[in-house]
């Protein structure tokens, strides 16, 4: 196919081509960066949580009676929950993982608390805590019943032993085995690591320290008590109903505030990210459709404008294939100008996003893949009008329009 005659024809009628090229450029920039954001968030949402999130639920209770005794109420509730068929394990818990709210501490390597600290999410659970979450120590040991301390939150003093996640161990003791190592909170009292969990996600998914956790063998005695419950697969919703009813009937001077699946908290915390992904997906889909329709529209116009010329070419011996090729090549040229410009737009837009979200810049292959997609889109869109052009009979050249 000769490109020169197509080019000179294009140059004589620039406007339509420029409009299409600009559309393609903006489309490439939007698509590449939308996919970039979507991919980044999806990867974050799909990280392994280290827990059996789908089979966990959370019970919140609040005291109203002046004679409420938190410790005995907690024992009653734990016994009651453990007795429900379908329950795998239960533990009190100070906060709710994956929910966007919780407790964090700054940890130090030295007793004087000098220098920068390492932030970590803090879980307060009993010896059933890890099993309730569906996690296991991969090194060291779990808490025993004797390790667990019942404490008033006002007079709380952190325990001297803890289980940590591997990510926290690696951050505090790079390249070393964290087992048996000691760290400090905001006081000179040391905390010894007695166990390591490979993966356990914390409270704030957007936080860089999301994978760093400490688990303390503490149960808080408070007017507001919280339990995490793991059920057998598929029985969560049924067990939740039974638990709510039974706890409501227990007379410990408190009432059930709510019983909610862990996934409820997780999804609520992720909802704005989820909405963002849907918006970006819809936007990307629509923009491809609009750009394709624009190409169809302008190509149809240019075919109808050139009906006479096409007829003449056909009369002079051009094959149908030549006509189709002509329009395909023309479109390919326009798209190529568009994607060249679009690559620059895409990188510029990405530069802004990277500075905003503090994420690594777009991988290089996004742009060539986007370019290939737009080439394909352009050729598909122009195929219809091009075939229509090829169907123009040569005889038309002899008629006046």
């Amino acid at each position: 196919m000769e490109i020169r005659p197509i080019l000179s024809a294009l140059l004589r009628n620039k406007t339509g081509a420029i409009l299409i090229a600009l559309q393609i450029a903006l489309t490439l920039a939007i698509i590449c960066n939308s996919v970039f954001i979507i991919h980044d968030r999806m990867v974050k949402m799909a990280r392994p949580t280290g827990m059996d999130a789908d089979n966990l639920f959370v019970v919140d209770m609040t005291a109203y009676s002046p004679t409420f005794n938190a410790e005995s109420a907690i024992h009653d509730h734990l016994d009651l929950l453990r007795g429900i068929p379908g329950v795998v394990d239960v533990s009190p818990s100070q906060a709710i993982p994956l929910s966007g709210g919780g407790w964090s501490d700054g940890l130090y390597n030295n007793p004087e608390q000098k220098g920068a600290n390492t932030g970590a999410g803090v879980f307060h659970m009993d010896e059933h805590g890890l099993n309730t979450l569906g996690a296991k120590v991969s090194e060291g040991r779990n808490f025993t019943h004797d390790d667990v301390q019942y404490q008033n939150q006002d007079t709380y003093i952190h325990p001297s032993i803890a289980i940590v996640t591997r990510a926290l161990g690696e951050k505090m003791f790079p390249g070393q085995d964290p087992m048996g190592k000691v760290f400090y909170e905001n006081d000179p009292k040391p905390v010894t690591i007695i166990g390591v969990v490979d993966t356990l996600e914390g409270y704030w998914p957007s936080w860089e320290g999301f994978e760093r956790q400490i688990i303390f063998p503490t149960v808080f005695t408070r007017p507001n008590n919280r339990y995490m419950v793991r059920t057998l697969p598929g029985q969560r919703d049924a067990v939740m109903k039974v638990a709510e009813q039974k706890l409501g009937d227990s007379h410990d001077g408190d009432f059930v505030r709510h019983v909610r699946a862990l996934t409820w908290y997780r999804d609520r915390n992720n909802e704005s990210d989820h909405a963002l992904l849907v918006m970006l997906t819809v936007m990307s889909g629509l923009i491809l459709a609009i750009t394709a329709l624009g190409i169809v529209g302008l190509a149809s116009f240019s075919v109808s404008q050139r009906t006479k010329q096409i007829g003449t070419r056909r009369a002079l011996g051009a094959r149908r294939r030549d006509i189709v090729n002509y329009f395909m090549t023309e479109n390919w040229l326009i798209t190529s100008i568009g994607v060249t410009l679009g690559s620059i737009f895409a990188v510029a837009l990405n530069y802004w996003l990277v500075s905003l979200f503090k994420v690594p810049p777009i991988s290089w292959y996004y742009i060539p893949v986007g370019v290939l997609c737009l080439w394909a889109l352009g050729l598909l869109a122009v195929l219809g009008p091009a075939l229509k052009a090829a169907a123009i009979p040569p005889a038309i050249a002899t008629r006046s329009v």
Partner: protein
Amino acid sequence: MFVYNLRLALLSMRRNPVLTLLMVSAIAIGIGMSTTCLAIFHVMSGNPIAYKNDQLYAVQLDNWDPAEAYTGPHDMPTQVTYLDATALMKAAKAPHQNVAFVSGLTLQSDNPAIKPYLIVARVTYNDFFPMFDTPFEYGGPWGNDADQGAQQVTVLSEETNEKLFGGANSVGKEVTLDNRRFRVVGVLKKWNPTPKFYDLENGALDDGEDLYIPFSLTQPMELHSFGNNSCWKDTSDHTFQGYLNSECVWLQFWAELPTAAARDDYQQFLNDYVKEQKKAGRFPRPAKTYLSNVDEWLKTNKVVPDEVRVLVALSFMFLAVCMLNTIGLILAKFLRRSGEIGLRRALGASRMALFRQYLVETGVIGLGGGLLGIGVGWIGLFGLRHMLSSDAGRAAHLDWTMVGVGLLLAVVASMLAGIYPAWRVVRIPPALYLKIQ
């Protein structure tokens, strides 16, 4: 003339319904998408108390860790300690000031039909109400004596009063909070400023509180904050009093400073206060205090998430693609009518008359696209509300301002899109096209 142009426009649109539909829907989708994103931005970037913007100031003091700055606006904590809050309240250097936090309390109604439930209370001073201009349905704020004497009085929100007393005037009635009797002194009208400028710690779009009680009850009732508590230093002793005396920040402090001079005086007072405290061994970081008016406070606390900014930017690029598309289609359509134009020019129509005619046509297309686009935007926001919880969904609303902005955007954009094609087409020398005919 306008009516004539309008008739011509409608006639021309009817002649090519597929093309017209394509143009109108391209504009509608572009406008719909940008209206959706802009509406969210509009709600989140609003300032519900703009008329007092330069009188209300959020107070920041830097009592943080000498080893590491707080990660917040101006590298300072966004809340203050109990020590500082009570000292600043006692000094009362501003005409009005208040300190506040949210706490959870168990409410028991005298009506046995209402089971005990957990309420969120804002624990604050009576100046909270006039400073933030809260509208009262019944009664009013509690008196200064309640603030000083830790009296058990409360102001109910409209929702709580509805739930407990069926919306009747409940001033003088009593409720039990954490086993203490509280007398109702006031009931608010519906009050849900969005964003919740006075407390950005617990979700800027969150619901307001269920009721309000005096701050002086904090100590006797040992009230804990339900919101954000941040500490960098261990408390000396592990008691509630120890927490009150600690360097933990958990209280929001606001001062009302009616003039620039009052603002400067207050800044000076804060600086002196920090200097004084430094002598006592507190405030180990370089002395730093900050007063932010409401706008600044909303901005530095990033109430509008970066994601929303990105969506707005992308949606405008999206609109640009839709407009480029429309320009292309309009151009094609007008050029196809070159013969007609040539004829009309030859018969004496002026360029200006034709130009006007074509602009009216694109304006009509724009208005149609805009109206349809508002509908698309409404559907988009409806879908978002469906995906979001009620608090966050509060941002996904279309008000009349946004409807106006969307329509204006559509008409202006399509007129702009129409100018070039109309200009191109009226410059066609009439003779050329008459010849072809």
